[in-house]
Amino acid sequence: MKRGTGILFLFYILVGAVLGEGEGESVYRQRLREVLEQRANAVDVQDYRTGGLAAIEAKLALRQDAEWCSRRLIEIMREPTGDMFWMFPCVAIANLGEEQLSTEAKQALRAAWKNYMPMRGDTENHWLMYYASLFLMAERWPGEPGDRWFNGKSSDENRDEAESYLRHWIKITTERGQGEYDCTHYIAEYCIPLIELATWSRDPEMKKLGAMMLDYILADFAVDTLDGIYAGAHARTDDTQVLEKWNGMSSYFAWVFFGNCPRPRRNEDFQTHFSAVAYASSYLVPEMIRRIALDRDEPYTQKEVKRFPAPKRGPRQQELPVYKQTYMTRDYAVGSDQGGGLGPIQHHSWDVTWAVKDPRGVHSTIFSTHPHVSIDELQMYFAEYPDALGVTITQQNKPTYLSPDKLIGSSVYEQVFQDKDCVIALYDIPAGTQFGHVSGFFSKDLTRVEEDSSGWIFVQGGNTYIAYRPLAPYVWSPLSVGGRRLHSPHLKNGTVIQAASVTEFSSWEKFKEAIRALEFSQALEPVPSVKFRTLRGRLIEAAYGQGLRLDGEAVDFSRWKLFEGPYLNAELGSRRLEIRHGEKVRMLDFDKVSIEQK
């Protein structure tokens, strides 16, 4: 740990300890200011050619160096670039700079929205950023004809189209779940446009919807976070954060809102974008959401339904529900979705994450995956010709897509079953599939690894004991990032994992004995299947393609609610989310655009 960041971390712990449960707005604002000052101080104000939009946002938020901001903005607006990643900083600069920017700088900004055509993109997060920004700028510059806008549409047309999309997105999200759910990085690309709406929309209802959706996203994160780490399954993550789970934007939001982890040092421009708006905003995360993120006194399971959009190509023409759950304890979290082809490039279907005192540089997670590569599958999600598509994907910040060693990305040949802190992942990979092996990730930060003659691999990470059962033979290979890969080159395959707290057992040996004593049987033919009585006494029967039985009863996922758990509850299609902590209840009603708190 660097000395400076270590001191900061100690400061954060001390402040947290002193402030306790109600650390309050001042600490939150101090964190925002820390981000902004760091970014602002990195600028050489004698040089009008360095520093990007984030630097301008930081300085404007801190009300520093307005002349530099104006001159630099004029420079940047000569050659705009970045599409919707350019649009939302423009929104922030226009608002933060209202009283600070020169007339020429404001004119340059306005002209750029005519002279530069940002792309709308092709993902859910792209569209939210694009349309939230367009909505706010159309409000800012009302009554202007189409020839003043890059897309030829008038201010009224742009505002109406953007509002229509934003309301549509809010509707489907609160009825059927997010498509890009629980993302470790893209969470920023939801939170930033939402806080901009919540802060600067001139339409009271859109302003309120922005704040309510920000509550919604942060509550969804809070319930799945263990000490600031986004645990379990993600629609999208990246090669770094799937291992070092703290190191990304989700933990920035944990740090800034919940104060339960140190500040990550990746994606600092994104941190600045959010901090600049938040610093000017009256939005505060509700205290009960913060408490949900921190309260790990009792284990709980949070179940959620998400939305897997219909692909562009292929036989499935409809969206599918995603059934996601996280079992959370003080020492570890176990989370999953049902696996399968839920997104070819950045999906992460399950893991066990254990708590660590300091997450920096730590790979506090264990999971297995099938490194699936399929151009046919890519064509389901990208409206492109096939032959260059795989290589193109690797050039778009997804460098490992074609690699047999990759540790992210879904596989259509994986099915995942979970009950509390037990996960069963089954793989039935057809012969001839490009990569016919299963990879298990074994972290460099495991403090124990023992291969037992029973077939279990017993490991310990932090205060968590974990029993890992590969269903087929394997070999070990080292990983360049540290740790080892369990490489199992068998097409019919699987992993069973059972986690437990160290405190549940008097010794490591007792844990191993307890696992060995559990009822367990497996088969690989005709399909991989497992029968396992968990540490919690539940009998799990899972077979590839045949669903899940718990204590002899088939699990009917169609009865799942949008949210179900001690903290978050919502019915499918309801457009309402109940957030509960202790005696307090906060009801977000997106039909009535109302918040009720008791």
């Binding site: 670039t81 599409d83 990643f85 792309m119 189409g146 409206a383 010709y385």
Partner: protein, 381 residues
């Protein structure tokens, strides 16, 4: 933009030319033959007689002088100029619409738009274009100065566009989730894909000789509508996407379709029935097809790995015309309606290449490192 220096396949002859430092630009072409001959002799002395055999593959490009009087059309292209672009990344070179009125110079029109998949002319105004791409359908007028996106958020990433020559206010677009039609020059749109089972639609073609007949190339084959898109029926089944559909300029009943996996198909009854063209490969991606306006039986096909294939007998037999191109991964091939014997090819992330001898020899013309997505000739006289 001025023409770029020609690029040649990295065969031995080209390597020798580069080794000896003979720059090749258009002004130098009259001297090129002599230079290459010198190179060839020098190389032969150095490497031995075997080189002479290889050098025969790299024929000197034929260049036909162009008289502006002979040009009746302007050429429009939609181009992505950036390798490795992704949403949000910097765009160092101008992409979007390019126009050449003289086949020598090319000018960029309108916005730097990183992805435009298709282009069509507005029959009401030959100076106006429709383009489709990442941001939807746009109408572009006044040499790119007037640009309006015509679609909203409910229609995204159209892949192709066709304007009905018999009812020129009617516009069809191929969408990843079906077909849509506008009956008022793009001001309003409605879905129009009843009968198309799996919706992904890559290409759309309107039968100029039959009122209300439209063909759509989808991920499951070719669909035909005979009621202006109200209802569709599948007339050709394929296992993967149909990438292009073209109607012969000579015989209106003749259509050819090319596909991602299932080869090329010909219909001689307005798309009602289809026959496989057996000599083109199946299992490889065919990107487009074009008919030569000067010769009714001449057609060309481009594809990934197959380069440029040309037929002089309406598709019965094919000749490979890829020698001299830097890659056999060709996105588009098309004939020039004003210059007999001229054909263009666009290898993936390479320059746009031109041949004045029907693909026997090639030279680079414009756009280093580009992908050309579509082309259009608009009559100017």
């Amino acid at each position: 933009m001025a023409g770029v220096a020609p690029r040649r396949n990295e065969n031995t002859l080209y390597c020798l030319i580069r080794f000896h430092g003979f720059g090749l630009n258009e002004a130098m072409w009259p001297f090129a033959f002599a230079k290459n001959l010198c190179c060839l002799i020098a190389g032969a002395l150095f490497f031995g007689g075997c080189l002479l055999l290889e050098a025969g593959e790299g024929k000197e490009p034929v260049i036909v002088p162009i008289s502006s009087d002979a040009l009746n059309h302007a050429l429009y292209l939609t181009v992505s100029m950036n390798k490795g672009f992704f949403i949000g990344s910097r765009v160092p070179q101008l992409s979007g619409i390019y126009r050449s009125v003289d086949r020598r110079q090319v000018e960029h029109l309108g916005y730097n738009h990183v992805r435009l998949d298709g282009i069509a002319v507005d029959p009401h105004d030959s100076g106006a274009l429709y383009v489709v791409g990442l941001n939807g359908v746009s109408r572009v007028a006044d040499s790119g100065r007037n640009w309006r996106i015509l679609t909203g958020w409910s229609m995204t990433q159209p892949k192709d566009i066709a304007v009905d020559p018999g009812a020129s206010a009617h516009i069809f677009i191929a969408l990843p989730d079906g077909v849509a039609v506008s009956e008022d020059r793009g001001e309003t749109w409605r879905r129009s894909d009843r009968g198309i089972e799996r919706k992904y639609t890559q290409t759309i073609a309107i039968d100029r000789s039959r009122t209300d007949a439209v063909l759509a190339g989808t991920e499951q084959g070719v669909y035909l509508s005979e009621d202006a898109g109200a209802n569709w029926r599948r007339v050709l089944a394929t296992s993967k996407t149909v990438n292009d559909l073209r109607q012969s300029p000579h015989e209106p009943e003749l259509f050819i379709a090319v596909s991602q996996f299932d080869g090329a198909w010909r219909s001689q009854n307005h798309g009602c029935d289809w026959v496989l063209l057996p000599k083109l490969p199946k299992g490889q991606t065919l990107h487009n097809i074009d008919f030569d306006a000067h010769e009714s039986s001449r057609i060309a096909v481009s594809g990934w790995g197959i380069g440029v294939q040309m037929s002089e007998d309406g598709g019965e037999t094919w000749v490979d015309r890829s020698a001299g191109l830097p890659s056999r991964n060709v996105m588009k091939v098309f004939f020039d309606p004003d210059i007999p014997g001229r054909v263009y090819a666009t290898p993936y992330h390479e320059a746009l290449f031109v041949s004045d001898d029907l693909g026997r020899t090639w030279r680079a013309l414009w756009f280093e490192g580009a992908v050309v997505w579509d082309f259009l000739f608009i009559r100017t006289k």
